[in-house]
Amino acid sequence: MSSAVMDKAEAEAKQPASHLITATFRIRRFNPEVSEEASWEDFQLEIDPKERVLDALHQIKWEIDGTLTFRRSCAHGICGSDAMRINGRNRLACKTLIKDLNPDQPITVEAIKGLTLLKDLVVDMEPFFQAYRDVMPFLVTSGNEPTRERLQSAEDRERFDDTTKCILCAACTSSCPVFWNDGQYFGPAAIVNAHRFIFDSRDEAGEQRLEILNDKDGVWRCRTVFNCTEACPRGIEVTKAIQEVKRALITRRF
């Protein structure tokens, strides 16, 4: 018996990489200093399927091709830097496990759409943050500042709890077909962050934010496609939040 256990332990020691699998990562590369065309490039990795796509990107950048460019900061699903289009869906690379992606087939990774592609997986986020700034994502109050914190009941806090989870990763906005197509549509993320203050009982600028979103490029361009709700890595019910803003606008008018 003891020898059998020994053999098993030896066998495991001889094959330390038995838990690794071979996965192909098909990454859409773009480098304006080399070519004006973006192209797909395949990388084969030996990797643990329980690792995340971000770990695979690290492995490629650190061990295979140092020119691969992508954003990431905290690598734990909070900072919202590494939203990218993985197997055709917007996700956070740091929250997507390789085993959940069917690694038998090449795993495609590309930059999020609808924003200017700068290099490889890096896009220009400025239009996204411009829309975010436009909805005044800060507390607006009048009167004297209280000496203590501004109190709020648990029910009032619950009203906008869902939209406080946003990490501004742009997965929702860059999955929205109206945002892809044209124009100045604010995009789901900006509306979610407006919702967070419009329904905050302590805030006094809800009317102004509703007026901004009543614009022709505001909430009325939403076609309830639900791409944003599916893309959100934080599980925010984005389309529901947009519909609540629409309802607030209508009930305010009538």
Partner: protein, 154 residues
């Protein structure tokens, strides 16, 4: 891959000092970007689509039932059948409301589709001009026919 660049004979060999142009989406805010409208037009348009849709479900399904299913189906439709129905103000009103709501509902839907999909401003302008002309023409012609219909015409 890097060696391919020279052999393809590209007119502009790109480099760190001469990067390729990036594709800008039409979202950068410039002086030519239309200003905010500050009207409730989109709100009313959105609301109209919902309300007219509900009414049209009743009107259109009723219309299809009467015209195509009940009482002999499509074979009964002729000049006399239409003349008989339009002798009653009820069916005149029904058809008039259906015409107006249907045309405006469809035109507003096409307007949003043009807004979404037309890429250039001139394309958008011409498509909308065509749409509005066709809508106004159809509504006016239909209204004229409903009100001036003469069953004794030969």
């Amino acid at each position: 891959m890097a060696t391919d660049i020279e052999t393809t004979g590209s007119s502009a060999p790109y480099g760190p000092d001469n990067p390729a142009p990036v594709i800008e989406p039409p979202r950068a805010r410039t002086s030519r970007t239309p200003k905010t409208t500050r009207t409730n037009f989109e709100l009313y348009g959105w609301l109209f689509m919902r309300l007219s849709g509900i009414v049209l479900v009743v009107l259109v399904i009723g219309h299809l039932l009467i015209q195509l299913v009940l009482d002999g189906g499509v074979s009964k439709i002729g000049f006399a059948f239409v003349a008989g129905r339009w002798a009653s103000p009820f069916w005149q009103t029904w058809d008039l409301i259906m015409l107006w709501l249907g045309m405006l509902h469809g035109a507003n839907g096409l307007r949003t589709i043009i807004n979404d999909y037309a890429e250039r401003d001139s394309t958008r302008l011409w498509l909308k001009a065509l749409l509005y002309t066709a809508t106004v023409f159809t509504i006016l012609l239909g209204t004229l026919v409903i009100f001036t219909f003469d069953p004794n015409i030969r």
